[in-house]
């Protein structure tokens, strides 16, 4: 990889970390805002993981919270019951989610399930896990007992976990940018645009779709623990169908395959959601989701490329400004 590609992959990630680091200082370490920032970063990470299967490969996956729930609950329960550090647990979570993705994805792609049937199969997967987990976990909420320190990745205040999740987000951004510039990315985009043509030019479409699915699922299995800690609780409801649809909405509103678009959409929607919930949630629950529905319809009809054209122009402007500054 030449230095130019390296910088185009590394710089945005570095920028996200640097700007993100400043946020707790800017809000005066107000725990409400730091938690909000943490939840936004986690949502952006989830949406950018979805971008690999949904954005690049064009498969409408509606199972994100199946993988988040499975990986996250595994890591959390290992910690609660066997005192296993999440540093290990998160990798095990990634492993189990990747395994589930492989088990589900292999036959799906082997038998050529695509389009609406793929979307429905993944939506059914979340419901199946939801119902099975009621039987396994029981119909209650689990609260994580208070433990503290880097060994558990849990702290008295939210800053440390926030910084950690920033690094995770930055890595996911870099991975997205790397994929989009690599052979895999070109193959996936070719599959998204025209599967028959992609197959005709010799792309192993099954292999690359499965690869995208497994990468996506392992990222989600990995960040599941952070998601659960940032929500403070888990239950069978962690396997949430509506939340999984919401992730896909962010990915589509942001623009399929656009890293800056999806990133912006995740942050903006999370902030709008929190604002509306804080001010109108008591009076009108669900208003923010209703508005997201309207937004999704509007994007679909008027601007199928999503926010990406807007954010891409902005990103290009910043880039030329930075480059120009360096030359002077």
């Amino acid at each position: 990889m030449d230095s130019r590609t390296l910088s185009s992959i590394g710089l945005p990630a570095l920028l996200v970390i640097l700007v993100g680091m400043a946020v707790p200082f800017l809000v005066g370490f107000n725990q409400y805002y730091v938690l909000l920032a943490l939840q936004s970063v986690v949502m952006a990470s989830i949406a950018l993981a979805w971008n690999i299967i949904g954005g690049y490969a064009g498969q409408l996956d509606l199972a994100s919270f199946a993988y988040i729930g499975l990986g996250g609950i595994l890591a959390t329960m290992l910690m609660m019951n066997y005192n296993v550090t999440p540093w290990l647990g998160m990798f095990l979570g990634a492993g189990i989610s990747a395994t589930l993705a492989f088990v589900i994805g292999y036959p799906l792609f082997r038998f050529g399930i695509k389009g609406v049937w793929y979307a429905l199969s993944t939506a059914a997967l979340v419901v199946i896990l939801h119902e099975v987990s009621i039987m396994v976990l029981g119909p209650f909420d689990y609260y994580i007992p208070f433990v503290e320190g880097w060994y558990y990745l849990r702290f008295r205040t939210w800053e440390n976990l926030y910084y950690f999740s920033l690094v995770v987000l930055a890595s996911i951004i870099s991975l997205n940018l790397y994929i989009s510039r690599s052979k895999i990315g070109y193959y996936l985009k070719a599959i998204r645009e025209d599967e028959v043509a992609a197959e005709a030019v010799g792309i192993d479409i099954r292999k690359y779709k499965l690869l995208a699915l497994v990468i996506y699922a392992s990222i989600l299995g990995f960040i599941g623990y952070i998601y659960i800690v940032s929500q403070r609780t888990f239950s069978y409801n962690t396997f949430s169908g509506p939340q999984s649809v919401y992730v896909a909405i962010i990915g589509i509103v942001g623009g399929l395959g656009s890293v800056s678009g999806v990133f912006t959409a995740a942050l903006v929607l999370k902030i709008v959601e929190e604002y509306l919930r804080g001010y109108l949630g008591g009076v009108l629950p669900g208003l923010h989701l209703l508005l997201f529905g309207v937004l999704l319809i509007a994007v679909g009809i008027l601007r199928p490329e999503g926010l990406s054209t807007l954010t891409d122009t902005l990103a290009r402007k910043i880039k030329t400004r930075v480059r120009g500054g360096a030359r002077e």
Binding site: S121, G293, I301
Partner: protein, 290 residues
């Protein structure tokens, strides 16, 4: 505990009745998908919206929920036509993902509208006159389910007649077969689409009226019925009422037996696992051709 034979027979009977109602729910979706190729992810949410409407109407008119269909069917036809014109028509030529996204948006709006208006509490109609059992020798018949099953079958046969024996039906089938050639033969494809989408949604209005004779309205009903009706279509395959009826009854019976023999919490998991596996080996459905 080994369940008695009576209990199993009872749950099969309930499942069959429920299956007929499911087939009515899936009929509109099947029409819209089969004729227009539109993947409607908001279908279940229309049933949910209808259930709340029926709840309001039946309680106010002090009538049985099934009678509210006089209002729900025409009203839902108009709503369907409006949604088609405002949301579906603009994305007709676009890629499937965008079409799905738009209908997901419609479903989101409906679901959260219900959440805002009715909160997350399930509601049941108080004035239902059919909600009782008649005991036969081994099983007892839930009259509301029997009536809704019978009416569902009647409507399905009626729609079948419309599609196979009338000029409008011929035009609809011609449009489904090849919309360009249909249009060259003088069929107004735009009008047919409007009619089919309106009819599809009107059928959910009727299904909600029947559902509320024994069921409950709930903002999350949409997601479960939405997926369930798609599963029925996947199992049944497109293009025939017999396949639709058979797969609906299979799903209804599996669901009912799961509730009795295993646990009500997994009543969807088993049909969905069956759906995924059938999709692998018979993408054309259990009863589809080709």
């Amino acid at each position: 505990m080994i369940p008695s034979l009576n209990l199993i027979l009872q749950s099969i009977l309930d499942g069959v009745f429920l299956g007929f109602l499911y087939s009515l729910m899936a009929l509109g979706l099947s029409l819209v998908f089969g004729v227009m190729g539109i993947i409607n992810f908001a279908h279940g949410d229309f049933i949910m919206l209808g259930s709340y409407l029926v709840w309001i109407l039946a309680n106010n008119m002090r009538s049985d929920p099934s009678l509210t269909s006089i209002v729900t069917v025409p009203l839902f036809f108009v709503i369907g036509a409006a949604v088609y014109t405002a949301v579906i028509r603009p994305v007709l030529g676009k890629e499937p993902l965008i079409q799905i996204a738009v209908t997901v948006g419609v479903g989101y709006v409906l679901q959260n509208l219900a959440l805002m208006m009715f909160r997350a509490e399930p509601r049941a109609v108080q004035t239902t006159y059919l909600n009782f059992y008649v005991g036969l020798s081994v099983v007892s018949v839930h009259v509301a389910k029997l009536v809704s099953a019978f009416l569902s079958l009647l409507i399905i046969l009626g729609v079948h007649y419309l599609l196979t024996k009338t000029w409008v039906g011929l035009a609809i089938r011609a449009t489904a077969y090849d919309r360009e050639i249909a249009s060259l033969m003088g069929i107004n494809v735009g009008k047919i689409f409007l009619l089919v989408f309106g009819l599809g949604i009107a059928l959910t209005g009727l299904a909600s009226s029947l559902w509320m004779t024994f069921g409950k309205a709930d903002p999350y009903l949409g997601s479960s019925f939405g997926l369930l009706t798609w599963v029925i279509i996947a199992l049944g395959g497109l293009g025939g009422v017999s396949g639709l009826l058979a797969s609906s009854i299979i799903v209804g019976v599996i669901q009912s037996l799961t509730m009795t023999l295993i646990s009500p919490t997994v009543s969807l998991a088993i049909p969905y696992i069956a759906f995924i596996i059938v999709l692998w080996f018979r993408p054309q459905g259990l009863f589809g051709k080709g």
